[in-house]
């Protein structure tokens, strides 16, 4: 078996490496393995396999994603209410076909990186979408909890409760979520004064997962460059593939860890140099810190503060009562 053959391990073969999936596979229902809501999943994106679908106008993963989500955004109100005082409106409803960046209508795109490695010219295709981080600030800091992390690792925005304030995009190191103005609950509250639409991004096809189906991009990839499975198994597979190709992993430590593991034969620092960060087109910096991690010690102090308050009250209450008794006796 050649190294390439290893990389081209099929979905069915891959499933066999995870115990739970193996049972399901033996039963002839491999996809049911994904339906378990509490099972932590991860995805693997093998850049040594992705070729950007040169024979297609739109890469297969992008096309499948667009097809699945084509009716996700409701009809955009016309005219879109002008927000006050900053008049920013983000309207992609008339540019739904755009597929070379993230938009509210396009949750995945493929970046083409042309670079020279060890004097050799290489072209690497990098599918980009939400990383589904382990502790995503976009989830924890949403003021309405419209964004939630499922037990299986999927980070999902509830479009019915999102006000489109774009806070999630501001705190995302890759600025993944994209806003569509003129839709959503804000239209029924104070459209001119608060809210500005709904944020959209990849939700790991969580509804398909619940039905035992694969995410669209993974199902559509003709080269099986994208895989999904048990978190630990995917992590191990990423490690072994990276080891075999003397390559690199991205997503394991970035932003405190994610459930997306990129494997690449070229360093991600080099890939990042081919990316100019623009709206809807994230870069791939390797030193991505989880900013909220710095607030964790103070957050732990908050959790301890009721105990401190109660303990202090207990001690001081006891002492003051003793003092009162002494005064009375005197």
């Amino acid at each position: 078996m050649t190294q390439q053959d290893h990389f081209r391990m099929g979905r069915r073969s891959f499933l066999k490496i995870t115990a739970a999936a193996a049972v399901a596979s033996a039963a002839g229902l491999p996809q049911k393995a994904y339906a378990a809501k509490d099972r932590q999943l991860a995805t693997l994106i093998d850049l040594s396999l992705c070729d950007g679908c040169p024979d297609r106008k739109v890469p297969a993963c992008v096309g499948a994603c667009k097809e699945i989500n084509k009716n996700k955004i409701p009809r955009v109100i016309d005219p879109i209410p002008e927000p006050w005082p900053r008049k920013t409106i983000e309207n992609w409803s008339k540019k739904q076909d755009v597929f070379n960046r993230l938009t509210p209508y396009n949750f995945i795109y493929v970046h083409k990186a042309e670079l020279t490695v060890d004097g050799e010219k290489k072209t690497v295709f990098v599918p980009r979408r939400c990383m589904h981080c382990d502790n995503p600030a976009c989830v924890t800091i949403c003021p309405f909890s419209a964004n939630h992390k499922n037990k299986n690792g999927a980070v999902v925005i509830d479009q019915n409760s999102c006000f489109g304030g774009a806070k999630c995009r501001d705190v995302c190191p890759w600025e993944i979520p994209q806003r569509q103005s003129g839709v959503g609950i804000y239209l029924h509250v104070l459209p001119g004064l608060m809210g500005n639409g709904v944020m959209y991004k990849c939700d790991l096809c969580h509804e398909r997962l619940a039905k035992g189906k694969l995410p669209g991009c993974i199902e559509a990839c003709p080269r099986e460059a994208l895989l999904i499975g048990d978190r630990r198994a995917i992590e191990q597979l990423a490690e072994s593939r990276a080891g075999r190709m003397n390559g690199y992993i991205y997503g394991k430590t970035q932003n405190g860890g994610t459930s997306t593991f990129y494997v690449s034969p070229v360093p991600f620092e080099d890939l990042d140099k081919t990316m100019v960060k623009k709206p809807g087109q994230p870069d791939m910096k390797t030193d991505v810190k989880r900013r909220m991690a710095d607030t964790d010690p103070l957050a732990k102090a908050v959790l301890a503060s009721p105990v401190v308050g109660i303990a202090a009250a207990g001690i001081m209450g006891f002492l003051s009562k003793r003092k009162d008794r002494a005064k009375k006796e005197a």
Partner: protein, 250 residues
């Protein structure tokens, strides 16, 4: 007991130093929580608050979160301390009594010139009602805030219904806290209440004011003084008392 009549100074000790510390710890940290809570909404950029000198950080949600957490440590510890300490000591002066609602209506009417104020204890009846309301709001903010904080560190994937409850309780009680704060400030702005304001800064209020407006409290502290106190229906208008005090202080 801290409360004490200082006849020669014409003062009554209304609050202990500890109570003043509790009040100001909760008040100041609560104010910081209000402001940083607002800045946890995406308003900094939208409303150009970032352009206000000194508020450039208002659109940085992580910086606001630092401040929110720091204030929450003080707010939560002080709130819990207050509840347990005074509970242990059996101090119930701020808890509502039977008839407080109707008494409150009388007091409020009197503020607008309708009828006389009833004789009062250390706290006004509406103060006792407001206290319970504020305490409940604070308690709900603390509990929901603790759930959200736990989620931020340990459980971004916590039960969605639990998270939604915590989030919306926090948001709704944030609005109620804001309204309660405005009502608190409005109460202070009413002239008859001015003599009490010095009490929350110094712990002491004027004895003549207390004898006229809080005769039931003074009677508890020193029954002999009550004998010298005119019955409520012969008292001058509390507005006049406040005016008198303001003039004397001025």
């Amino acid at each position: 007991m801290t409360e004490k009549i200082l006849t020669e100074k014409n003062l009554v000790v209304r609050h202990s130093t500890l109570e003043l510390i509790e009040h100001w710890a909760i008040a100041l940290s609560g104010l910081i929580l209000l402001v940083t809570g607002i800045f946890e909404l995406p308003v900094g950029k939208r409303y150009y608050i970032v352009n206000v000198p000194g508020l450039g950080w208002s659109a940085d949600f992580i910086t606001s979160l630092y401040l929110h957490y720091a204030a929450a440590v003080v707010f939560t510890a002080a709130g819990m301390f207050h509840l347990v300490y005074h509970g242990l000591r059996g101090e119930k002066g701020l808890l509502p009594r039977r008839g407080d609602l109707s008494e409150s209506i009388k007091v409020i009417k009197s503020l607008f010139g309708f009828g006389e104020e009833p004789p009062m204890h250390k706290y006004l009846p509406e103060q006792r009602l407001a206290y319970v309301g504020m305490a409940f709001i604070i308690l709900m903010l603390i509990v929901s805030g603790l759930v959200k904080t736990y989620k931020n560190i340990y459980a971004p994937d916590m039960s969605y219904p639990v998270l939604l409850w915590a989030t919306w309780i926090h948001n709704i009680f944030f609005i109620l806290f804001f309204l309660a704060f405005i009502a608190h400030m409005a109460a202070i702005a009413l002239r008859p209440n001015w003599p009490m304001v010095r009490g929350i800064f110094t712990g002491r209020v004027r004895l003549d004011y207390a004898r006229h407006r809080h005769p039931l409290w003074i009677a508890e502290l020193d029954p002999s003084l009550q004998k010298n106190t005119a019955p409520p229906d012969e008292l001058p208008e509390s507005v006049d008392m406040a005016k008198q005090e303001t003039e004397e202080e001025g």
